[in-house]
Amino acid sequence: MSKEMKDTADLFAAEGEGAREVLERLKEQAKDALGLVISEAPAEGDFLGRYRHFKERELPLIMRLEDPGERRAVLEDIAKTHDLKVSDLRKALSAAEKRAEEAAAQENHEGGGAQDETLAPEPGTERYERAIHLLECPDILKKAAQNMQRLGHIGEPKNKRLAFVCAVSAMAGYTIQPSTHAQSSAGKNYLWDMVLSFVPPEMVIKRSGLSAKALFRTDMELKGKVLYIQEVAGSEDAEFTIRVLQSDGKLVYEATEKDVDGTMRNVVHEKEGPTVVVQTTTRIHLHHENETRVFPIYIDESSAQTERIVQSILEQAEGGGVGPEEREEIVGVWHDAIRLLEPARAIVPYARRIRVPSSQVRIRRDVTRLLDVVRVISWLHQHSRTRDQRGRIIATEEDFRTALALVEEPLKRSWQALSPAEEKVMRAIKALPEEKRQKGFRRSDLAVEGAQPRTVQEALSSLASTGYLERDGRRGSQGYTYTLVRDPEGMTLGINLDPLPGEAVDAEETRGSRGIARNGDRAIESPSLQEDLPIARSRGVDGNGQPQEEAKEPDEQDTVRQRPIDLAEQTIHERGEEYYLYGEEQKTKPARIKLAELGWARRSNVTDDEVVVPTGATTGNNGDVDNDPVARYTASSEIGSVEVMTATEIFQGVGRVLSKGGQIPPDWPADSREVHERLSRLAPILRTTKRQHPYFEGYSYPCEEPPDVREGYTHVEYWESEADDKEGLWVFAVHEPGEPVDREEVEDYVWANVKPLEKVVEHFVELPGTFD
């Protein structure tokens, strides 16, 4: 029975020239995407299903045909195939064409006509290089905050970072909705004006207010954009629309409208998101349902921040700060950098190790939002992050820590449901005599420092609606009477990342130093949340950092063979390697670590640079090196090559010696032990003796030129296993004088040879796409 053929390589291997016949047949059977989609339409009789199939699957493809005549012709074919009326299909096509024209017009409009500014810079240009340089920055958020400070926005480093993450989140595909709260003139719009100046202008839609239906009917393209509504007051009618846009990521609205011929007909208005809606408000809370969808950003209203802002304004007035040209240059680089970011999914491979307290009802949505922040941060750093086999960006643990630092305060406030003003009022309440707190107090009893009476009133009302206070319901001449029914939980955030097995101690220290509280932590209990927090199997750990047996799945036993090393999950975030996995550039653990885990190490007395060259074997007098056939054996290696062999392999003259006429040199060692002894003695001499080695410098193709010859040293290492049941490996790396030996490359080669000896199966764990 012939082997199953999986691809053209198999076909060629099996059939050789005979493969042509198969390839020609396959070519004849090829179909384009539209043909494939048409063939997948629902069965006959299901008219509605087929019409929907046409609109959802076929029409988008038809719209990509440039020739309108071709589009019309395709409709005729589809009408016949699906037994649908061609007139209905034409109407749908016309509507789609109209929408496309409107979108194109809007795109030009929003772009302000500066077409070249809306395009990402081309590779090879200076703009491109500068943008890429920025994207390769290890901490882009820090850089953004620094640049904002340079442009005059002082203080509030976390708010700036979080606002920036929110601003780019729609582009990243993980929309994070902010709401910005502070008193009037506290700098809400100043923050957003600054943050959004870093986002390409074509991606920002700025409005002072919105009417209820404005978003449904707008010609603006909302997808991937930031809609900046400068003041919520005045846009209350649009609150529902905004809520839907935030939660559903699109708007669908059906209305009865008059047609051109005067007849009434129903029209469906659709606006595709996702869109980040930036709202600033002096109100303490947004609509309750809106609030659960947003990250609140509370502007620093402290006197210290006021002082900093005043200082900055004064400095600028004195002529300090950044001029308009430099400002343009700074934001221009950010615009280009953001334009260059590619759409890509991001995964959080350690999500199962994230520990979250389960005491709050809102936790599910909040955890999802926290993970979205992690994903957006890793998406922003896509030029310095690893991707998995499916091209998804792999978030690092540092991304998680950065995200947690940014959202800690907003989440805590959300969970406590207390705004800064509410906190102030609560403090004033606690300062009241016990009797007043329990039996009732009025607004006039409270001494709230630095707060307007209206703010206090709002805070009391809000505390009552969230269950902290109870009010008697009768508003007398001095207002309501309130009683304190529950104290805000003195809870800390309690989110943290469990250490990997074996890292428990270090991780504990790290956590302590980062000040992330752990009191009351419990693993997530919700089964549905467990589904949302996925990840490669068998890495679950209990509270003590011990592996959880139950986390393993039955089929894992089949996939993990012999001495498995799970490379993906534990070390996916480690960087610094030159080579990646097939196409998808998945990162692996450094060979040095893998070797150490299996008990393999360099033998220092052979490989240490400090080894003293034996007497009589000095540079320039090659002595043994020229005469000893074992030493000569290594001289035919080309410059830049790395050879890894056991003494036995060398003794047997793998390939080279025997191929030279099949004669073993007269003074060739008697056995492999002698090879080993001679190399132990020769190693330091080889490392310090220049010899002639081949060097391939041919530029022609195919290779016809004889190799060049250059001087080089042979760096020798000897690797052995602590298990003592395997033969050690000799490494010969030939390098030119002045060119250092790439130790990592050597380790990679050693690892390639240790793997079969140790029977290691490197199974690169496919990270489940649970977040998709």
Binding site: A30, P123, G583, P702, C703
Partner: protein, 292 residues
């Protein structure tokens, strides 16, 4: 004067074109078979005009000395080809930025380095009979191994494939031989590719009606049969690869791997490249006729 104007001025187009095709005077122009690597011109349709421009009436290719140099040398059109041409003819183009020069030089150096390494690994085949055996098993005899500079590396634990793109080596692909071969390809980091990204793997000529495949050995196999082919090198083409695919002449025939992931990926490609791309069914078994 721009570098390109300088080159038009200093490099004789007829002399340059004459290196690649026999030109004969015909009125004010010179005429010969088209030297474009992708145009098998049998009847002279390539005209060189005294103004320093050429036009092929067969394939509609046209341009100046830099365009000609770019095509015959497989260089990126524009500055990179211009710089290379300037170097060849000793033309000083002072207006070129030091940065552009440096980049072009870096690219050339990297390509040269990869080619040298590919040749080294190819030569190393003689020391690794197990790798030779593996190549033989895949249908790549000595002639094909030499043609594609297929090689052996890492003590015989790997087969190596030069990362071909239009006649140039953009990197080295290492194929581990021991187990699970589908996941055993190693590639340079994208920064180490001369272009700064991983281009398509194109082991032969670009022709009309290219095949598009997932794997490098798939592409080598098709190229060995004389077909034009490009490999994505995985299931997810990057933006530059998609751009390059869209620029190929004629339709694209996508040959998916016959597994779920491969078929899904190929389906995504044909949708992404609609209407240019066509999906072939993944049925690689040869139909046995009664005569066989």
């Amino acid at each position: 004067m721009s570098p390109f104007e300088e080159l038009r001025e200093r490099v004789d187009l007829a002399e340059l074109a004459g290196r690649y095709t026999d030109l004969k005077a015909s009125g004010r122009a010179f005429v010969g078979c088209c030297p474009h690597p992708e145009h098998d011109d049998e009847h002279p349709s390539f005209h060189v005009y005294p103004e320093g421009r050429f036009f092929c009436y067969g394939c509609r290719w046209h341009g100046d000395v830099t365009d000609l140099w770019s095509a015959v040398k497989g260089l990126k059109p524009g500055m990179e080809a211009g710089l290379d041409l300037a170097r060849e003819f000793g033309v000083d183009v002072p207006t070129v930025s030091a940065e552009a020069k440096e980049k072009a030089e870096r690219r050339r150096n990297l390509e040269a380095d990869y080619l040298a390494r590919a040749q080294g690994y190819h030569a190393a085949l003689s020391r690794h009979p197990s790798v030779v055996e593996w190549w033989e098993g895949r249908g790549f005899g000595e002639g094909l191994r030499e043609k594609f500079l297929l090689g052996a590396g890492a003590s015989g634990a790997e087969a190596t494939i030069p990362f071909w793109n239009r006649g140039r080596v953009h990197g080295l692909v290492r194929r581990k031989l021991e187990k699970d071969p589908d996941r055993k390809y190693l590639l340079p980091n994208k920064e180490l590719f001369p272009l700064g990204y991983r281009p398509l793997f194109i082991p032969g000529r670009v022709r009309e009606g290219m095949y598009v495949v997932e794997g490098y050995v798939d592409a080598l196999a098709l190229s060995a049969l004389g077909y034009g082919v490009a490999a994505i090198g995985g299931t997810h083409p990057n933006a530059e690869q998609l751009k390059e695919l869209r620029q190929f002449p004629g339709p694209l025939y996508v040959l998916p791997d016959a597994d779920e992931e491969g078929e899904k990926a190929a389906r995504r490609w044909v949708e992404e490249l609609f209407p240019k791309a066509l999906l072939c069914p993944p049925e690689y078994e040869r139909k046995v006729t009664n005569d066989e």
